[in-house]
Symmetry: C2
Subunit: 229 residues, 2 copies
DNA sequence: CCAAAAGTGTTTCACGTACACCCATGC
DNA sequence: GCATGGGTGTACGTGAAACACTTTTGG
């Protein structure tokens, strides 16, 4: 290549913060490193970007290879290029965060034999590299974005109760919400479809199930509607 | 280095969208390329990331070298790594946007002889690479962020009139605002200091000058205050 | 029949919005 | 004295927030 650049090059990686939600907490999916540096430490799933794939493709491939997760909501977060963030050499990492339905990905898959596990976001072990900082940024982004974009549904099963959505927002925003006001608000947006089904296997009155109507949401958005919790 | 990675590596660049504001428009600073590809085309200032500087340092250095601009508000925007975005080879670019006070940077400086000029954001020439897309993203980010963070002041001189702030928001948000309501709102936030000065050289009653009180803003923020226009 | 959560309306208050005139200044 | 923008207050309506009891169901 006559016109290729002569500069020495940084290595380029992607790292993913995968969030999931259960009945108690917001969780994050970590993998345990089996190589130095930080051997044995928990870390975000991620790896090197190949020349024949875009950044997002790279992130999705790493997620698949390291955790078995596919077809999830994925959004770029931030790119970190501090000089000494990797003890080996200059490594720039493009970070992403993903939202998954824990019910669909309950058991941690680890196709390449690495250990993977879910941790409560507020109770993670010491992480490799600057991954704690990345997790913090992702958490902050989620907290901010969930209020203005209907991305919370990515953390819920396809059919959910109003109680589940409210719980989602209470966990992510870390404050209690008023039940009546919350229901009024979310229903008045007219982006949920009430199903002819109720939840099962509960030891009390079963709640109605709803699903998110993405088409309706997109139609409303075009007309100037803005989602907000 | 025994533990360096063997993967072939993408080139890594930074590109900056520099916004400025004058009496008419929101402007963007472009430079004219003097090398192929896209020789002669206008493009965003930017260049290759060196191994001994962080990404932000790289962006600031390129801004200084190509446009003479220093000490400005700079924020990372997005990282683009589509495979074919550069015709030569794989180039990943970390994009930034900057907000400058046009009064301080009126004349385009170009220390390395390249031509630099301000263009109205809504009337830019054809740009090199995918820079039009980057500009579009930056514009959208600015429009969104200016409403929730007091970054608009970065586009104004240190001392400004209420009319100037209102004009800023009208230009960036692209809609007219009510004068009385705007004044009520911005003053009620209690983040401006009223100065004992008025503007000069105007052919009508001179307006009072104000400045943004960053310390007060930060204090209020800690107490739960949220800026919003 | 008891425990547990589902489901449901009204009142109050703050804030956003709409709107028009007089004043000060420079030319 | 005239043109230009500076500066100011009120009324109205919408939406956020506070708040408690009855109903349904499973065990």
């Amino acid at each position: 290549m006559s016109y290729s650049y002569e500069y020495p090059r940084a290595a380029l990686t992607v790292d993913c913060v995968v969030f999931g939600l259960d009945d108690d907490d917001l969780k994050v999916l970590l993998i345990q490193r089996d190589l130095p540096p930080f051997e044995g430490r928990w870390a975000l799933p991620g790896g090197f970007v190949r020349l024949d794939e875009s950044l997002e493709e790279s992130a999705r491939r790493e997620l698949r290879e390291e955790t078995g997760i596919e077809n999830v909501y994925l959004e770029q977060l931030y790119t970190i290029g501090e000089i000494d963030r990797d003890p080996r050499e200059r490594v720039v990492t493009v970070t992403y965060y993903a939202l998954v339905k824990l019910t669909d990905h309950q058991v941690q898959a680890a196709t390449d034999a690495r250990n993977a596990a879910w941790f409560a976001v507020d109770d993670v072990p010491a992480l490799a590299f600057d991954h704690a900082k990345i997790l913090e940024m992702a958490h902050e982004r989620l907290r901010g974005k969930v209020r203005y974009q209907p991305i919370g549904f990515e953390l819920l099963p396809a059919k959910f109760t109003l109680r589940q959505i409210q719980h989602l927002y209470e966990v992510v925003l870390d404050r209690p919400l008023d039940k009546r006001n919350f229901r009024k608000k979310i229903l008045s947006m007219d982006i949920l479809v009430e199903l002819d089904e109720v939840e099962t296997d509960v030891a009390h009155r079963a709640a109605r199930l709803y699903k998110f109507d993405r088409r309706k949401y997109q139609r409303l958005t075009k007309q100037g509607f803005n989602f907000e919790i």
